[in-house]
Subunit: 592 residues, 2 copies
């Protein structure tokens, strides 16, 4: 069962942000009720009617690689992508100059949640294209923008990111693909692996962004440049010419997201693929990182999406399946009435609520950072701080939530036809691609905690604490959850203190970096569910929302406070103990 | 890469138990160094040479259902099973009267760990047969014992458990299969689903133990009887006769354990399958539960096994893969030198150490309960208390550990050829079959905590606490881990107090039952890793063990104490908050 969670998104967008923050975003972007309603209801319709029905069939059929180096996607994908493009869903974020709608990231994130929830494998193509649009808007030449952006924005073409090589994944500095100057342009040679939608049949052309090393460039990450390598050459009039010297030599057999082709691309088997330099030589990594932040945000959203899909699947099953008489309930009552099934379902739901809050908040921070509506330096810092938390925590939790979704189904969850297992398989890529959990945690602890001596991260914890303290003194129904959050914020602050001044070595810090990331994710989750509960209380007399819907928001805050928030203390204990115990284990011990 | 962890098992068996407990077991069973060494080294050889090589190929090929209702297992399975039988591995636990070796459960559990780690799908057949042997030894008539046990014990035949029907899984009271008296015997009709190795080609005959309802029996669980239904009828001289009226009408397409057939069996499509009553009419559930405790122990061991397999796979990859220069290390150093990779690997390893300790301890308790070597009533109670903890905690953690195993591989983990993904898929069934996690937790909280007002469970926590306190006052290297365990035991005791006297409703108790189970599992894990570290210290001057091996045991205790043990506090917080927040969520809220 698919549910776009349109009302939950609407509530999070309209009431999840502090009034002041919302006002700042609304001063730059259209966040009127009419616009939000129109976008969400149309997107919900599209994701429900077009994308969701292809999710399970796409997984079963998978993609097909043909000996003439073509890849075909599962039945229905091509038509769905054309519909998506025609409906204008590829153009939400891009600037108007290139056919875009220049909408708030809050709205594009909300629709992305729906796309990925409906069909994760399908929507990956869109995610990559959006990242490419963002990169070219920021770093492309005028000519490049004119040539590529309109077609990417209207969905005639799609984009890819070509980073990984067999020996260069997390460590991009090790990549070997070469670029040789050839007149104004370059000839690219090399093999790229794990290229999502590296070849497919859904669009007329595929624009590859490729990292390669110009002959004579410095070793390591300082010698990497970024190139546009179109699959089909683009003539001066915009029409398509001959195929470039790039071909898909294979696709991977994966655990999940089987509807999406993960390609091995061979560049320059003959004369070299024609590549157009983006920005300056040796600037490639910097540009790619700008694009990657966007993609990391998108993958974090995928975590929310797959968790939500798994939840709705489990919720539907639990509402239909009869098994035993639940304690103090009636014969014939479904399994959702068993206390532990409700523990699982409400726990999943509370974390999804938390994830969605983090997504909307991070998107708003991104909007403010870009548009200088308020203190843009502060919001740039806050937005950057949220990226590893969003990507790391949401995706890690999504794996557990998808696993809980299987568990709710009992034995049926293990049968592929049921569908729950697909979410469990699909979710597993999320803590890996676009920077593993460890990479997010490294970014968080070294670049965003230690470098500024904790200023940004402590400011975040202080904001959480302030909300929690304010709400804890009221004697209404949310004060117990608020008090739990006050304590959690204090524990988190203590753990951060241990990192900053506890005398940990740099390696020991690395060993507690994931616990730090998970701790902050949980803390922010507590913050968001509490804010949502507060908003629900304020809306009680508005007449705009169903009372059960509002009661649920409050209930989820309590579920989060009692089921998830204790994780903050747990991670804080691990952090305070330091990485000493981990560092004391040598590889030899593992083999002894 | 497969590693039978033979030395770790030897150490756990020889030094993991308190001297007094070990002495009691050794007074009944042969636990001499020679016997232990011989069994472990032969089993390691067999699992490494015969079973492990068929694990990945079995997953890829899967089982095949043929239109004439036969099932064939993957290439090599049949021959491997014959070798297993010939080597005497099917007869370890059975009594000598029927050709068994009447060994300690400690040894059969240790070899089971190896079988399941080498090939989970294959070894499931063995697990079910062992449960059947146990049930027939205890409840079968003399004639039934003579007819079936020798062939099951020598591996000529295999056994199955037939419980589940489409509408009766966890709730066996709902089952509808019927048994009609026919002379001395019965005619069985009905459909059973999820029957592991319900049909296959590895043995001459398959003995089904089937739950069914004798015509006129009381409704619900009180009207269930247990029957032996052989696939092929057994003549008076022991030779095989015609096929019984039972056939395999389909097998399931599953997420994992694809090498094992999960069958739908149709009994009595014609004249009714001939069934022989085991015990008395309407005693079926009671007998099945005796068998199920055995199977639950076995599935708990499977949790350890798959976790260990995932660990060795990840460890091997991490020792070969070069990616980036690990902080403060050299160019070319492998990823095992990255702090977070070591956090994952050492964390996996420490929990495996904990699991193995729990397995050996529980097996010893089982031995003592059965053989009246010491206070058998106490050991029966302790043994029964350990079953839900062993089954629940080990299998839940195995899913996370298999997931961590994928994570260590980065992108390669998501590619099926690598093998890590198979463990992640295979592990997912473990918290589901033989009683879901919720069923284990219900058993723990209602039958084994509330019923005796916490006597058994508090005695366990007191034992943990006593070990921890004793070791915390020394000023050697393990006292910090011991102190953490003292605090954890105290937190656990407080949480148990909240369950016993905190005024929780019965439904609220249900909502905190899984946290209770996970809390006690973690606590016992801390106990076992600490005891292992203590033994390692004592062995330092013995000359019997490699120093790095002993250092590793001590190091894992610290890793467990800092990475896993903080979970005790976390679960205690959730328990103390009670199930109120979960109970406040109504199904309507989930749909609002």
């Amino acid at each position: 069962m698919y549910d776009a969670s349109e009302n939950d998104l609407r509530f999070a967008i309209q009431h999840g942000l502090d009034a002041k923050m919302r006002e700042m975003v609304a001063s730059v972007y259209d966040l009127s009720d009419d616009t939000v309603d129109a976008v969400l209801s149309e997107a919900a319709k599209f994701s429900r009617d077009v994308l969701a029905p292809l999710n399970h069939s796409g997984d079963i059929e998978g993609c097909t690689w043909h000996p003439d180096n073509r890849v075909t996607t599962p039945k229905g994908f091509k038509e769905a992508f054309q519909q998506m493009a025609e409906a204008g869903w590829c153009s939400m974020e891009a600037s108007e100059e290139y056919g875009g709608q220049a909408m708030s990231k809050i709205l594009s994130a909300a629709t992305a949640e729906m796309w990925h929830s409906a069909n994760l494998a399908f929507s990956l193509c869109h995610l990559l294209s959006q990242g490419q649009i963002h990169a070219l808007e920021t770093f492309g030449s005028d000519d490049q923008k004119q040539t590529y952006l309109p077609k990417l924005v209207d969905g005639t073409w799609t984009g890819t990111m070509n980073l990984t090589e067999p020996h260069a994944g997390t460590d991009l500095g090790a990549l070997k693909s070469s670029a040789t100057r050839d007149g104004d342009n370059y000839r690219i040679k090399g093999q790229k692996i794990f290229i999502t939608y590296g070849d497919h049949d859904m669009a007329e052309n595929i624009v590859h962004l490729v990292l390669a090393r110009v002959d004579g460039a410095p070793a390591g990450i300082k010698g990497i440049s970024l190139f546009i390598v179109p699959k089909f050459m683009v003539n001066a009039d915009g029409s398509l010419g001959a195929q470039n010297d790039v071909k898909c030599v294979s696709i991977e057999h994966k655990l999940g997201i089987n509807g999406s082709p993960t390609s091995i691309l061979q560049f320059g088997e003959n004369e070299g693929a024609v590549g157009y330099l983006v920005g300056e030589e040796n600037q490639g990594l910097q540009i790619m990182f700008a694009m990657m932040n966007d993609a990391r945000f998108g993958v974090g959203v995928q975590g929310l999406s797959i968790a939500n899909r798994a939840f709705h699947q489990a919720k539907s099953y639990a509402a239909e399946r009869v098994q035993g008489i639940p304690m103090e309930r009636e014969l014939g009552d479904t399994i959702q009435h068993h206390p532990d099934v409700m523990r699982l379902l409400s726990g999943m739901r509370a974390e999804i609520e938390a994830m969605r809050g983090i997504m909307v908040y991070s998107a708003a921070a991104n909007d403010l950072a870009k548009n200088k509506a308020g203190d843009s330096a502060f919001w740039a810092s806050r937005s950057e701080l949220m990226i590893p938390i969003l990507k790391g925590w949401l995706t890690e939790r999504s794996v557990s939530i998808a696993s809980d979704g299987v568990q709710v189904h009992g034995g049926m969850g293990f049968i592929e036809e049921t569908g729950a297992a697909q979410h469990y398989r699909d979710a597993r890529i999320l803590p890996i691609y676009e920077g593993t959990t460890a990479i997010q945690a490294n970014d968080l602890i070294y670049r965003k905690t230690l470098r500024d001596q904790g200023v940004a991260v402590r400011a975040l914890v202080a904001d959480v604490s302030e909300t929690a303290k304010t709400l804890s003194t009221s004697d209404d129904t949310i004060s117990t959850a608020a008090k739990a959050l006050v304590n959690a914020a204090q524990a988190a602050d203590g753990a951060i203190g241990a990192i900053l001044t506890g005398g940990m070595s740099m390696r020991e810090s690395g060993a507690v970096s994931v616990p730090l990331m998970m701790m902050l994710g949980t803390l922010c989750g507590g913050w968001m569910t509490l804010k949502s509960a507060q908003a629900a209380q304020e809306q009680k007399d508005s007449g705009n929302w169903d009372q059960t819907f509002l009661d649920a928001k409050i209930a989820y805050a309590h579920v989060f406070a009692t089921q998830s928030l204790p994780q903050v203390d747990r991670y804080a204990q691990t952090i305070k103990a330091g990485g000493t115990a981990v560092e004391a284990v040598s590889p030899e011990m593992l083999w002894a």
